[in-house]
């Protein structure tokens, strides 16, 4: 505080014919020390007399003083005392005039009732409605896809190609890094155990089968859910906020043809190939570790891999990748369309799309595992 500053002070002086509020000192909010007007501050005031101000000693002031005066104005209104603001500095009078006599009423506190049955009921209805909506969206998109195949569709090829470019080639690097490391980790873990039985060569089988059957498909899908699914949801949610989806709706341009179909098709077209690529890179990761750590030759590793991984394992992973692509595309587009219209909603939609995508992929993979076991694959 500057040495010339004086602290804010106030007092109520009453006589038989006046109630005077005396204000003195500097009333600067950011310097602190600005007093609150107490709720019983006018208890000593003479009833039925005007409340006036004396400001001879008032120094510098800002909204700190206005805050104090507003509380005083409310207290005066409550005590039915008329306030003569003309005796205040002109600027303070004008600001005070803008403020109401009463503060805004506190919002009602929502009553929380414990109603488990109705909560379960509404959750069930919401879930079933959502399943219905997603199914409807999926069917509409599938119809659009079939129409496009027969040349009657409304999807633009340019949209599909730009989506494929975004989903495919630009994802190669991250798919390579993740799958290489997963393959290497599997080889490390396997090497430690298999070496005990002098079965080093079986690291090739372990890495090959694990990558082709499970890890490459799942890891690639998780990468795409985080990378592309999140981007789809954020893009569509932003379009929602900019009224771009409304503009499509008014024109009668189906969102399914313009946005959803190219998104799903581009994922479906790229993910199976990313999976195949990921499998090979994963096996390369395993090979690198095996050559470095174990007494395995390159040719031996190669032959063991060829013997262990049957072609139908690739088919299984390939089919799974297609389903993962449809799941990620459909859920992320749906979440984007469902988003609110604020900037925060875009972030929420992107996060939800990633979470739902990842959980969905793993759940779907579990279903595939059960099916594969049942049919003996």
């Amino acid at each position: 505080m500057n040495s010339t500053d004086r602290g804010p002070e106030w007092s109520l002086q009453t006589s038989d014919n006046t109630n005077v509020i005396v204000l003195s000192g500097d009333w600067i909010a950011q310097q602190g020390h600005v007093p609150d007007f107490p709720s019983d501050g006018l208890r000593q005031a003479q009833p039925d007399l005007k409340l006036t101000f004396r400001t001879d000693g008032l120094g510098r002031w800002d909204t700190g003083l206005i805050g104090f005066l507003w509380a005083l104005k409310q207290a005066a209104a409550q005590a039915h005392l008329e306030m003569d603001a003309d005796t205040l500095p002109d600027a303070a009078h004008k600001l005070l005039d803008l403020l109401p006599d009463r503060p805004a009423p506190a919002p009602p506190i929502p009553r929380r009732r414990f109603a488990p049955l109705s909560t379960i009921g509404s959750l069930t209805i919401d879930s079933l409605t959502e399943i219905g909506t997603v199914t409807e969206l999926g069917l509409e998109t599938a119809k659009g896809g079939v129409a496009s195949l027969t040349g009657r569709g409304r999807m633009r090829l340019t949209d599909l190609m730009s989506n494929i470019r975004d989903a495919g080639p630009s994802a190669l690097l991250i798919v390579s890094v993740v799958n290489f490391l997963v393959g290497a980790i599997l080889a490390f873990v396997g090497a430690v155990q298999l070496r005990k039985f002098a079965a080093d060569i079986y690291v090739a089988s372990l890495v090959g089968i694990a990558m082709v059957r499970e890890m490459s498909a799942v890891m690639t899908a998780i990468i795409m859910a985080g990378r592309t699914g999140g981007a789809y949801a954020a893009r569509i949610a932003t379009m929602q906020g900019n009224e771009e989806i409304d503009a499509l709706t008014v024109f009668g341009i189906p969102v399914s043809s313009y946005i959803i179909l190219p998104s799903i098709l581009s994922l479906t077209a790229t993910m199976p190939f990313l999976y195949l690529y990921g499998s090979l890179v994963g096996m390369l990761g395993g090979f690198t570790v095996a050559i470095g750590m174990l007494s395995v030759t390159g040719a031996g590793y190669f032959h063991q891999t060829l013997n262990a991984v049957a072609l139908n394992q690739f088919g299984f992973g390939f089919v799974k990748s297609i389903f993962f692509a449809i799941l990620i595309g459909l859920t992320s587009c749906r979440i984007g369309l469902q988003a609110g219209r604020s900037a925060a909603d875009v972030g929420v939609a992107a996060t939800r799309a990633v979470v739902v995508g990842i959980v969905g992929v793993i759940a779907l993979d579990a279903i595939f595992a059960v099916i594969a076991t049942t049919i003996g694959l």
């Binding site: 503009a247 499509l248 709706t249």
Partner: protein, 265 residues
Amino acid sequence: MAPQTPDTDSRETLMSLQDVTLAFGPKVIQKGISFDIKRGSIFAVMGGSGCGKSTVLKSMIGLLKPAAGHYLVDGEDYWTSDPAHRQTVSRRFGVLFQSAALWSSLTVGENVALPMQMLTKMDAATIRNQVELKLGLVGMLHAIDQYPSEVSGGMKKRAGLARAMALDPDILFFDEPSAGLDPITSARLDDLILNLRDGLGATIVIVSHELPSLFKIADDGIFLDAKTKTPIAHGAPSWLHDHCDEPQVHAFMHRERETESGRTD
């Protein structure tokens, strides 16, 4: 409170709202909305901020189903008709959104072209000609290959107008066309709207609270009140300015501050 209205003209009614209530869930935005829009007129939906003007527009362009009442276009109920018919009617609409709502991943030219590519059988050359024509009408031909993020607010509005005209609609809806524009750009947009009405014979519904613009272009309108959530006056903005004695309408039309007693000062 009975809406005030001047004598209506003798032109044929194109659209009408009959006792429409608009609501978001349990929250009523406006109720008891009834008015007719004559073919070839420029109809203004007026009122202060937050009174539900844009919501009325949303229901008229098919984005919000009214909680009650009827919306007739050429005598047919829009919301109770089957979706295919509704789609046919919507094809007659062209909408300029408040934010212009251009598709941000497409250039200005592609924005105008997309509805033609998706909804008509026009070949690429015809579409290109049409796009150039529509952009030429609004003076935006030079920005045909620019993205919406590369053009100014006024240019976005003009591009939005060109897109609204893409399918040659006979009913144009404008949501706050002058909002955020400087007075000169705003005046140019007004002239453009008048020329389009006269040149294309379109019927125009405009949501606005820009008084100079309303006085200049609108020949009929309705005034919505935020407090009572009902329309409180009908008539052309200039007529309401001179004759309406509703305190809120008077305050609005004369840019006055409304006092708590309902009188103006």
